[in-house]
Assembly symmetry: C3
Homo-oligomer: 244 residues x 3
């Protein structure tokens, strides 16, 4: 038995979006203390770890923890149709995830549960050498700049934080002034190269007010985290090996 | 001889759009009391019946009633270029429909009259068993919800009014609360299935303030009507036969 | 040595856009009194002549006049990423054009200089017979009207100024009332036909407030000029020969 109600539809939408940005199908764990999902993207380059605690919901009841296979691309399309003023009721019934959007009209969506055998991957253990806190917006803008030049970027933390791109016709370097960084702690110079489209995916569920926490180590996976309402999402992204 | 002037350019645009949503070419009847058009769409699934009375015009002069063949897809492109502040002069000259948009600039468009031999189809006679009045907006939103699930929807009037969609991966049911329906009269339960893209076409010329009148009978054509300024459009849409 | 700083980023963007609208690659002349470019488009139908004087810049230093080959389609993408509040620093370093956008972040772009052997074409000498001054907006709207009918238009100056289009299905004539023309001087009736997409290109870098100066002569190239901040762009466009 699982029943939950949520009024913060934006967090619900963003949580689903955070998953759908990376994977089509995945296993949602319905635990006593909240919803969880950890999965690798099909290319095995990125990992998403989402937690939406029971406290994010107005009502949250789970009798027995369970895991259900979800087509997140379908679920994402449905949740995008919710409006800010809707209240959403979730429940599990006869192998279907039932959602009722209660607003101007009452809209009932049923989504079939799919089979899912995969067990959640382990969280990578990396001894990060630097950490950056920065607004989602300023980071997204920098990635748009870099996009003009190349489809991958180097992220560098040293005495400052910067993003660089190197292309056939030119190059770009975006330096974030200290006053625009919310936190920078560097044990040693850290620099890795990542695919731009993947980085953009990781930021999809963030909004104007999101604060992004980045952890870096040279040529190691990036850890990228931000809050979604009461919950939070953590991503790991494998670095691109530079050919020299 | 036909000469007319209209200041309510929005009604003129919407009237043309109401026709162009369904047919490319058709026969416009220029009568003493107004403009009329009744035609089937090429697939013979839908019928449009439009009336724009003489009263919708500032000036309306017809010496002899006549019928002209019009390429409504071309006419629609031209009328879309009119602006709210324009006054539109219409006239028939040497086998051309002449339109002058008088505003900041004076824009004169001539559209060739095309041959047209089709006579208007008869209006279907259906003994409808229920009638619903509802805002265009709320109806359009429900169709967008249903679109996520399937490309056809069931419209049902019984003790309430609802729209349902059934797809491979899930289902949706949109219930309209009594306070959001402007009128509901049901002689007997009525339920039919229609193609979503066709339903969307029928609503193309409606706007925020349009009130839609739906008439239903189980497995019979739907009748859908709304006002366009002083005029009105009526559509009939054949139901989809459900395979069971 | 070339170093310049500009705060009027809109003029800089529009200047680059004015060139990129016509040519992909071209030779920018860096003179003591400002930047200049004169080039034909690849189809040899249009010529662009741009001048951005030193006065448009906050700082402008040139030791030795020089010419550099620029990929304007790349440069245009980069300059479009500048924001109104940015200050742009330009310099020439080791065969690269260096641009720094100083704003919320500091963004450094380097664009490789390309080889360029072409020398600037001569400005055509035409004994124009009429001149029209008109707002960019009203002209663009008229071209949009004409676009419905044909892909080329006749521009006519006589006792008034008008644009006409003739298509298979109809025709359009846009007359500009005297009060909407800022200047009209006609020595003799002038009428030429031009490709619409080319005309649209010439207006790309104009904005709401731009005043367009057109010079016409029957079946001769059109001269089209407007200011871009402290600078100005002049285009010549060859007429289309009408088949009769």
């Amino acid at each position: 038995m699982f029943k939950a109600t949520i009024s913060d539809t934006r967090s619900w939408r963003n949580s689903i979006e955070a998953i759908a940005a990376l994977i089509d199908e995945g296993t949602l764990q319905i635990e006593k203390d909240g919803l969880k999902l950890r999965a690798m993207d099909p290319s095995q380059i990125a990992l998403v770890d989402l937690e939406l605690p029971a406290s994010a919901f107005d009502k949250y009841e789970v009798e027995e923890p369970t895991s259900i296979g979800i087509d997140f691309s379908e679920l994402s399309k449905i949740t995008k149709r919710s409006r800010a003023e809707d209240k959403i009721e979730l429940s599990l019934e006869e192998n279907r995830l039932k959602m009722v959007f209660m607003g101007e009209t009452n809209r009932r969506f049923n989504l079939g549960i799919i089979e899912s055998t995969s067990s959640p991957p382990r969280e990578p253990s990396v001894d990060f050498t630097s950490e950056i806190k920065i607004g989602a917006n300023i980071l997204k803008e920098a990635l748009k700049d870099a996009e003009l030049i190349s489809n991958h970027v180097a992220i560098l933390a040293n005495d400052g934080f910067s993003i660089t791109a190197q292309g056939d016709t030119g190059s770009a370097e975006i330096k974030f002034p200290a006053e625009n960084i919310m936190g920078l702690s560097v044990k040693e110079k850290s620099r890795s190269v990542f695919a731009l489209d993947q980085l953009n995916n990781l930021l999809k569920a963030s909004d104007q007010t999101s604060i992004i926490i980045l952890k870096l180590k040279t040529d190691a996976p990036l850890r990228l985290e931000y809050a979604i309402g009461d919950g939070r999402v953590v991503y790991y992204l494998a670095p691109r090996i530079e050919s020299t």
